[in-house]
């Protein structure tokens, strides 16, 4: 065994990590080796010095603060509470061109309705009278159909007839190229409206292809909305990543600025900040009102890195 290997054994022995046979080997070696005995003392001294820090326990106040923040984050993880109203309020307070985002929101709503009507047109409000010839059609609908919201118009069966309404939906399976407009439309709708964050995330990831990035402004606008409004930080992060692959424009800039000043996750604020810096390096400059946001960030943001980078941005513009 070489000296270097004995040195490793010395170290492990100080941490109580030697097997009994290794301890014996080391003990025998130490009796005959002055250099390793010195080395052992040396390592003991070093570890004693470093162990000064070992006595530090977790401060209860820090633990309480961390738990408090975590509870908030967990609540937002599973909360289904809508927050579109305060969001719209903060956007209108914050941006100089609120109409732009209202238009984007309205477009997305119409888009959603359109997709819904395309996909579920057979089952939405269709009147079926159970007369000769219609039974087979109803039976075929009934195979995979989910029925809900049944409401009676006439529940009195004394005359032999009843009448009611219900909502019916059925699963639809689509398979096709990711740049197919119909596939893209469904994925865009899903990233905006799907309840399950995993599905929203998968929709975004599925569209992460060069062709979509080059071709589709609708997808970009949807991503801008997701970056600013999705309640799940993971979804916002992925949306921001994909959004950054689109050609930089004013909408993207406003979304990034919104994240820097409003997002609760410091990692996302940092990513947005870095994107703004990269865009600045490519010649996309900020105007005075936008620079004021960084002055405010320096004062208000709790993250030292964000404060520092904001300050650098301001210095570069001065």
């Amino acid at each position: 065994m070489k000296h270097n290997e004995y040195k490793q054994l010395l170290q492990l022995s100080l941490y109580g990590e030697l097997k009994s046979e290794e301890q014996l080997i080391l003990k025998e070696h130490l009796q005959s080796c002055e250099e390793c005995r010195t080395e052992l003392e040396d390592q003991k001294n070093l570890l004693e010095l470093i162990s000064g820090k070992k006595k530090l326990n977790v401060d209860e106040k820090v633990l309480s603060a961390a738990r408090y923040q975590l509870r908030g984050a967990l609540r937002s993880e599973h909360s289904n509470k809508k927050f579109i109203e305060p969001l719209v309020f903060s956007i209108t307070q914050f941006f100089t061109t609120p109409l732009k985002f209202a238009v984007v929101g309205a477009t997305m709503l119409l888009f959603g309705i359109l997709i819904g009507s395309l996909l579920f047109s057979e089952s939405s409000g269709e009147e079926l009278t159970m007369q000769n010839g219609n039974e087979n059609r109803f039976a075929s609908l009934n195979e995979n159909i989910n029925i809900s919201n049944l409401r009676f118009i006439d529940s009195d069966a004394t005359d032999g007839e009843v009448e009611f309404t219900f909502q019916a939906s059925r699963p639809v399976r689509l398979k096709g190229k990711v740049n197919d407009p119909q596939i893209q439309s469904v994925l865009t709708y899903a990233m905006l409206n799907e309840q399950n964050p995993g599905s929203r995330l998968n929709s975004i990831n599925a569209m992460d292809t060069k062709q979509i990035v080059e071709d589709d402004p609708e997808v970009k606008n949807a991503l801008v909305t997701v970056v600013m409004t999705d309640k799940n930080p993971g979804v916002r992060r992925e949306a921001m990543k994909l959004m950054s692959k689109f050609p930089y424009d004013d909408n993207i800039k406003q979304a990034l600025l919104y994240v820097i000043t409003n997002d609760t996750v410091s990692g996302l604020r940092i990513e947005a900040l870095n994107s703004i810096i990269e865009a600045g390096d490519k010649g996309y400059k900020l105007d005075n009102s936008e620079l004021n946001l960084f002055r405010s960030t320096i004062q208000k943001d709790e993250n030292p890195y964000i404060k520092l980078r904001s300050k650098i941005i301001l210095q570069e513009y001065n």
Partner: protein, 192 residues
């Protein structure tokens, strides 16, 4: 009688928030202890702590009891810390010792906490020594640093650290050996 981890996990997997919180409180002190030693500041440590438990929360439904919950949890914790370190290096294009003034108008520099040639006798207070040790530990590579923190400060066995870092015990020993070699080099003027 205290409910065991397995029962809590099963309840939490069914959506019981209280069970999840109980699980968190069993381990979060250790997680925070690690993130506090690993992060550059307290705020970042709290962010890392939060990130760890959010990942646990999201991943718990897929937890299949193929390892101890604590091993899985600390594996996530070490991954989050190591990722944080990598990101910090990518993002920090200026020295982390640079500091802004409160009004954001002037830059100043913190004391660069490196050995300035003082003799051990001149480094009078424990806090000076503590700072030197902190800087030396902070200067290690992320994996050396994580291994050293888990072994030296948190007292985990090499086998446990290997599980957390998802590597072989020999690799952990190598990280530890290199970490101590580097610490020794940086601190030799004050402990020799």
């Amino acid at each position: 009688m205290q409910i065991n981890d397995t029962d809590l996990i099963v309840q939490a997997q069914k959506g019981d928030q209280n069970a999840f919180e109980e699980l968190v409180y069993r381990y979060d002190r250790n997680v925070l202890s690690i993130t506090l030693k690993f992060a550059l500041n307290e705020d970042d440590a709290k962010d890392l702590y939060q990130e760890v438990f959010i990942r646990v929360y999201r991943g718990l439904k897929k937890f299949r009891f193929q390892s101890e919950f604590s091993t899985w949890l600390f594996r996530i914790a070490t991954n989050v810390c190591l990722t944080y370190k990598t990101k910090s290096k990518e993002h920090l294009k200026v020295s982390i010792n640079q500091e802004y003034d409160e009004d954001g108008s002037e830059f100043s520099y913190k004391n660069e906490l490196v050995y300035d040639g003082s003799s051990p006798e001149e480094i009078s207070s424990d806090s000076d020594l503590g700072k030197l040790v902190s800087v030396a530990v902070d200067s290690l590579s992320p994996k050396q640093r994580m291994t050293f923190i888990l072994k030296h400060y948190e007292g985990y066995k090499i086998r446990e650290i290997a599980e957390m870092l998802n590597c072989k015990e020999g690799t952990v020993k190598k990280y530890l050996f290199d970490a101590i070699k580097n610490l020794r080099k940086k601190l030799s003027p004050v402990y020799a």
